[in-house]
Symmetry: D2
Subunit: 350 residues, 4 copies
C-alpha cells in the first residue's frame, strides 16, 4: 500500500482526487495527519496514476512505505511530538513523572497520596479504578467510584489524571474522568479498541505488550494515529522472559530505539517493569539515561497494606529518594570515570 | 549443605576440625575465602556437632545457606569487592571503561586503535584472539599471534589486556598474555572451566550466559570463588528474547539486582547487548545509571571493514561522543524535571 | 478466598445462606457451576462459620483453593467435559477436526473449500471474518458480510461455524452466526470480554495467549466458567520464543499438562503454531499423541493466493495427506476421529 | 565461502589442486565427507579459477552455500544418515530407546536398572558419571568410577553406553567407556570441544542448547562433521521460556524441521524436556509422531530417592507403560521399535 498526501487540501481538491481514485477502481481511506489530508491506498499507484494525481494537486507526495507503520515513524514527522495535558507536557526536554497507587482503594488513601505528591511537585497522578487481574478472584478495582475519587483528588491537588481503560464498554466514563487514558499491556494488541481511540481527542498512553516486539508496538500506535488522534505516548513496562528474579525484564534499549524510529514520546514504568521495590530507583535513573521522556511510578503510603502490587510500590520516603536521585543524576558529580585521571582535555575533542 | 568457616585457621586447628568431621562421617571440602579457611559440608551439622566444632575454635561461624551460592553473596562479604589490575581498579566509586576491537585483525589496526584509546585515557584494552563463531566457516581469530599482538600494543600504550579464554586447552597461553581473562557467554555454564579458573590468580570477567538466570550466573561465579580465586567481575551482555530489533535484550535490572545480591563488581557490554551502533551510547549511560561498575565497548577505526561484528562497533568519533556523554551525565544539568518547576525545596526533604 | 458450594440449592436455602453471610459481614458472589449453586467468598470461613453454614444445608462442601482457578480444575470436576455442538462433540474419545481458510475471502473461495471439506467428513468449518492484523494497513477481513457467507456455506454443507470474536462490540452479530466463538491469542487476557462470554450459552474456544503461562490460560478460562458458561474449549497455538525457524514455538507439553490440571477439552492449532506448511502434518500427529482433543487446520484451495497466512495453509492434496496420516496413526483404534463417522472411503482418495 | 569437492581424490590430484589454490593465494582447508575429499575455501572461486580446478579434475563440484551449514544439510546428503553402534542403529525406520538413570549412583542401583532394561529389550543404557550442576554444592557425579561401573553393567546386559562428556580434559576416559558420547545442552556452543569431537570415530549425541536456535544447532553439528566425524545424532531436550509449569518447553516442531533441513538422525529427551514425570509418556508419543528417531528416558528403580532429577525419572512400572504406549501407537507397523527385536512379550508385562 502507499500513502499519498497533500499539505493543504480543500474540499474541492479532495473531491477531485477522490473521484479520480474511484474512477480508477482504487480503494482508499482518507485520514488527517499533522494538519494534512492523507489518502491511504492498499496498492501503489502506477506511474500514470501518480502523474494524474500530481496534475490535480501540485504539492502532493507519494509514500512507498518501507516500514509497516508510517504515521508513527520518524520519517513521517521529523520533529518530536510533545503532548500538552492541561498545561503540563510529555515529550520534549523535560522528564515527566506520573505517580500514584497501583489501585484506587479508598478516599483516605488517595487524599493522603495526593497531598504528598503535590508537595513534591508531581503533576500527573496515576491510579487504577478498573484492574485487569489474572485471577477472577483477585481485587478488581473500585470502578466508576474509583474514577470519580481519582478525579476529585487530582482536582484538589492540581494534578492530571492518568488511568487505565480496560475495555471499550467503559470508554465514556473513563473519557470523562481521565486526562491521559492508559492502555494496558494486555490490550496493546486489541485493535478494535485502538481504532476507537483514534477517534477521540485525549492523549493515549500505550503500554508495550509484554511480549510485543518493538515494531508491533509502533504498529499498535499506528492504529490510533490513523484514526486521527495524534496524542500517543508509548510506555515500556518490561517484557516476559525466562528470568525469575524480576517480575518482568525491562528492555531499556527499546526506549532508545523508539526514539530513533518514531517521533512519539516514550516513558518507562519501572514499578511494573521490575516488580521489586529496591530496583525501581536504579531502573528509573537508567530509563532516563536511555532516553525516556518520563517515568510512571507506583507510590503508596503503606505499600505493605496495598490491595494490589504492594511489593513494587514505593513509600513516601523511598519516593523522595527517587526524586533526589533523579535530580542528582543531572546535578552533581556523584561518580567519576577512571579515564579522567589521565588528564584528557575533553573540551578539545570535536 | 552448610559452610562453616573460621577467621584465622592454623594448620593445627584445621587438622583438629578435619579430624572431628572425619570421625563424624561428614564429608567436607576445604576452601579459602577472604583470607579465611572454609569448611564446606553437604549436610548441616547437628547442634552437638556445632558445639563440638565451636569448642575446637572460638571464632567459628556457621552458615545455613538460604541461597544456592554463598561466597558470591552480599551476606558472605558485606563490603564491595574492588579488583586491582596493575594499578587500575574495577569496582568501587569509579566507572571503568574497557575498549577495543571485537577481534584482533592486524598489527596496523591494533596500533591505530591503541594509540587512540590511550589518547582518551582508556586503561583497559579488549580484543578477541580466539573468536567463538556460530558458523565454523566464519573468521575464527588470529589465535596466539593475536594474543601476542594485543599484549604488545597494550604494553606500548600502558593499557591492561582483557581477552577471552575459549577453552581450557588455551589457558596457559591466555594466562601469559591477559591481565583480565574474559569468559564468554557460551562458556558461563562450562563448570569444568570455571573450576580451573578458581585455581589461578588472575581476574576473571564472567559474562552472563545469554539465557542464564541471575541466580545461575552467581552460581557460576561461585564455582570460581570456591576454588580460591576471589577476583571475579560479572558482565551483563544481554539475554535472548523474542525481540528482533536488537541483537540481544539487555537486562539492566540485573545490574542493580546483582549489586544487591552480591559483593562482586558488575559491568555492562552494550555493544554485544544491543548489536546496534546507535544504541551503544544510550545503553552505556543507562547501564551506569543502573549501577554498572564499568563498560565494555567495541571500538574500531573503520567499523564497516571489521571482520567481526562491525555493525555494533563505534568509530573514534562515536566513541568520543560516548565518553563526553558519560561525563556530561554526571557533570552538567543536561535535562531538567518538570516537578522542579513547582519550586519544591529538595534540600528540606529528609 | 474460598468457594463454598451446595449441590442442590433452592431459593429458600440460598437466601438463608446469603443472609447468614451478610450478617457475618462476608462479601460473596453467587455463581452456577455443573448445575450447582456456588458461593464465592474472598476470605476463608472460620470453623464457627463453616459449622453454621453446614447447619443450614446438609450437603455443603467447602473448598480452600490451592490453585488460583477452581472451576477449571480437575479437582472441581473429575469427569472430562464434552461439548456438544449441533450433534457433534468436542472432548471425549474422538479427535475433532476444524478446518477452513484463515480468512473468508469470497463466495467462490468458501463454497469450494466447504464442498471439499464436507466430502472428507469434516464437521467444523473455520474462517476469519474479522481479522486482527498487526498492521492497520493489512487486510482486515470481510466482517459481517464474511460472517454471513461463512454461515451460508456451513449450512449448505452441514458444518458448524467456528469464527473469531475480536471485540465485545461485535458480540451480537458473531453470536448469531457462530456455533463456536473463537477468542484469539491477543484477547486471552481481555478480562472484560471473558466475563461477558460467561453470560452466553455458546461454546467458547479460548486460544492461549502467545506469552501466557498455562496457569494464566486456565485462569482466563475461569473468568468464563465463573459467569456460568461451562462450554470452554482450550486451544494451544504456540508461544513466542527466540526461535526464528518457525512462526511460534508449539508447547505440546501444555496439552498433556492441561489434561491433567483441568477437565476442559483442549485442541491444537499447528497452522498458527508453526507457520510453516510442511510442519502442519507432523505437528498435528504429535498434538494428538500428546493428548489433544482436536485440531484446527488452515485449508485453502490455492494457499499461494490467500490474502492472509497462505504460507501456513494446506491445499486440498496436503490436507488429504494429513487426514490419512491421522487415521493411520490410530488404526489401532485406541481413538477414532469424528470425521470418520461421515463414512468417507479414504482409500479412494488419491 | 564455498566448498569445492571431488568424489574420488588421489594424493596426486589432491596435490595438484592444493598447489593451484596456493598459487592463487586462496586459503583452504581439506576435509573428508561421505568418502569424498572436500576443499573448503573462505571466498568463492572466480570463473577462471573454477575452470582451472575443473581442468585438474573432471568430476569436481562447486558449492556456493546458501545456508551457514553445509555438511549437515539435506542438500549435501540426500539419504538419511543411519548410525551403527555395535550392531544397533540410530536413524532409519526404527525408533531407538535410550534409558537409564540421570546419574550413576551405585553398583546396586545400576545393576538393578540394567537387569530391568535388558528384560524389556532396551539396547542403549544412559547414565551420568560427570554431572554438570548449576550449584557447585550439588552432587557432581561419581566420575571415572561411575564410568567404569556403567560400562561393566552395560556389558553384563549387552547394552551400549551413552554418557556425557563435560569437558575435553575427560575425553580420553569417556572415549574408552562410552559407545555414544553425549554433549550436554550447556556445551552445544563449546566450539573447541566440538572441533575435537570431529577428530574421533565415536558417535556424538549433540543436545540442543537450551536457548539455541535450530540453525545454531545445525551449525554446531557442522563443527563436528567438518572435522571428519560423520556420526552425529541430534537431541531435542527443550528450550528455555517464560513457562514455569514445566522445566523446559519442548520444541517438537524442531524435530520435524531438522528432518527436513538435515540428513542427521534426531531424538527427543522428554525427561529433561518436561521435568515432570507424568508428562514423559505423552511427550514421548508426541515426539515419535513428530518424527523423532529415538527417545532418551530417565529411568530409576526408586525415583524418589534419586540423587539427581528424581522428579522427572520414571520407575519401572511407568516405563513399562511408556513402552506399551509406544508400541500401541505403532501397532499399525508403519514403524517399529528397536527394543522389539529382543523378543520381549509385552502382553506378559503386568
Amino acid at each position: 500500500m502507499i500513502l499519498a498526501f497533500a499539505s493543504v487540501l480543500g474540499n474541492q481538491e479532495s473531491k477531485a482526487i477522490a473521484d479520480f481514485l474511484h474512477a480508477q477502481g482504487i480503494e482508499f481511506k482518507l485520514a488527517v495527519n499533522q494538519g494534512r489530508s492523507v489518502f491511504i491506498t492498499r496498492k501503489n499507484l502506477d506511474p500514470f496514476q501518480k502523474a494524474s494525481v500530481s496534475g490535480l494537486l501540485s504539492d502532493v507526495q507519494f509514500f512507498d512505505p518501507g516500514t509497516p507503520y508510517q504515521l508513527a515513524s520518524a520519517q513521517w514527522k521529523t520533529e518530536k511530538t510533545i503532548i500538552e495535558v492541561k498545561g503540563a507536557r510529555i515529550g520534549g526536554d523535560e522528564v515527566s513523572i506520573i505517580a500514584g497507587p497501583c489501585a484506587v482503594e479508598s478516599e483516605k488513601q488517595l487524599y493522603s497520596i495526593g497531598e504528598y505528591l503535590q508537595s513534591r511537585g508531581i503533576r500527573f497522578m496515576r491510579g487504577g479504578a478498573y484492574k485487569p487481574r489474572t485471577s477472577p478472584y483477585a481485587f478488581q478495582g473500585l470502578k466508576l467510584e474509583g474514577l470519580k475519587l481519582l478525579k476529585e483528588v487530582a482536582d484538589t491537588y492540581q494534578m492530571r489524571v492518568v488511568t487505565e481503560l480496560m475495555d471499550l464498554s467503559y470508554l465514556e466514563e473513563v473519557y470523562d474522568y481521565a486526562d491521559v487514558i492508559q492502555i494496558g499491556t494486555r490490550n496493546m494488541f486489541n485493535y478494535t479498541l485502538l481504532r476507537e481511540l483514534g477517534k477521540i481527542d485525549k492523549p493515549i498512553m500505550l503500554k508495550r505488550g509484554f511480549s510485543a516486539r518493538i515494531d508491533e508496538w509502533l504498529q499498535a500506535a499506528e492504529y490510533i494515529l490513523l484514526g486521527g488522534n495524534e496524542k500517543v505516548i508509548l510506555c515500556e513496562r518490561g517484557v516476559r522472559s525466562f528470568e525469575t528474579g524480576t517480575r518482568n525484564t525491562m528492555d531499556l534499549a527499546s526506549l532508545a530505539l523508539v526514539k530513533e524510529l518514531s517521533h512519539l514520546p516514550v516513558i518507562a514504568d519501572p514499578s511494573q517493569g521490575t516488580g521489586v521495590r529496591s530496583l525501581v530507583t536504579p531502573m528509573s535513573l537508567a530509563s532516563i539515561a536511555a532516553g525516556a521522556d518520563g517515568l510512571m511510578i507506583e507510590v503508596h503510603e503503606h505499600p505493605e497494606e496495598a490491595l494490589s502490587d504492594g511489593e513494587q510500590s514505593l513509600n513516601f520516603r523511598d519516593f523522595d529518594t527517587l526524586l533526589k536521585s533523579c535530580r542528582s543524576l543531572f546535578d552533581v558529580k556523584s561518580r567519576s570515570f577512571d579515564f579522567e585521571k589521565n588528564s584528557v582535555n575533553f573540551t578539545s575533542i570535536k
